[in-house]
Symmetry: C2
């Protein structure tokens, strides 16, 4: 009918997986020149196709942006997951490693982070909803964070509170520390500041007064 559900089994006709090529070209453009460099025509040129070809794989520019955001989100999740696996395996160490992965991804791929969290609702609606196996079990960034927060959720409380506490702190710092933004300083200085800021999480969950109201 509408979508090519054959994306992974059969091979397309002319180009051979042009959809993925366009997404990758868009990511390249994004990393090179930031948001204003992302252009349907430039993506098409980079993939070696005509300027109107992307319109058949995505629902216009918004659809391409949504697809890029999905792929960026996938890489973002992977970045946090690997950061968690190589660090301190204790619950608190794992949580901090994930947050560090959050910051690291923002420092190294600012445009992709901007893409992930800057996509507007209307752009999301333009996404082709046929992304099977995308939000799989452990690969979702929010689920990774949620599981890392679980040990610090006081019994009987809404786990989303702790999750959003951690998420807001990491997200806010990462955005403020984006290159050329409000928190100045080199990478090492930013890292040290990040650790000191994240020390606030030592007071999260079952801490000082375990049996509070």
């Amino acid at each position: 009918m509408n979508t090519q559900s054959t994306a992974h089994s059969k091979k397309p006709h002319h180009h051979g997986d042009l959809r993925r090529a366009l997404v990758q070209a868009g990511i390249d453009l994004l990393e090179e020149g930031g948001l204003p460099a992302l252009t349907l025509r430039k993506c098409a040129a980079k993939a070696g196709v005509s300027h109107a070809a992307p319109a058949h794989h995505f629902n216009g520019l918004d659809g391409l942006k949504a697809a890029i955001a999905q792929e960026a989100f996938r890489r973002f999740s992977a970045s946090m997951l690997t950061a968690a696996e190589v660090g301190d395996p204790s619950p608190r160490g794992r949580l901090k490693s994930i947050c560090r992965g959050y910051l690291h991804f923002g420092q190294t791929h600012p445009a992709l982070l901007q893409m992930i969290f800057g996509v507007t609702p209307e752009e999301m609606e333009a996404a082709d909803t046929d992304t099977p196996g995308d939000h799989e079990k452990g690969t979702n960034a929010y689920q990774i964070l949620s599981e890392a927060c679980a040990p610090f959720v006081p019994a009987g409380t809404d786990p989303r509170i702790v999750e959003i506490q951690v998420w807001s702190l990491a997200h806010g710092f990462t955005l403020l520390a984006l290159p050329g933004r409000f928190i100045e300083g080199g990478v090492d200085h930013t890292d040290a500041l990040f650790d000191q800021v994240m020390a606030l999480l030592n007071h999260v969950g079952p801490t000082v007064s375990p049996a509070s109201p």
Copy 2:
């Protein structure tokens, strides 16, 4: 020579303070249709001038964006200041009121917040640097926050740590709770969640034995 430093005393030639009119037109467009609706030509049309007129008052679109960001920052600061003045005057109450003003501004003017914190370095360079009396004493948002954080800075530590802890938390939550984004729910639900998340600040600075409830 270059700029009309007569912005407040004499009146310009044709239009009469077109610079301010263009900035206001841009803000209106931004609030109505979001970032993609902000256009030099639409601003010019809304101000009743030719489509190329803005180029003489701003350094291209980037300059207009920077000017709008400055004005938005001014209103943002005012929003936090008034929120601080009408709330609990205790140090902790004042700090939380400011954070609530942060969130409230983001909920009511999401495009302006995006403008303030989304302006790129190159766009900032395009700003006309002749904004006298702009970063005045108490009107700077960061100074407001800094002064509100001062009572919670442990002696001998860098005050920026507490400031960035508070700033990151408020900034992160506000962005995640932007309408149609990652934190769902109505305004009242968001407010309640915000209070619970911001409870993390009870552990900032001189902790565990607070004099206030």
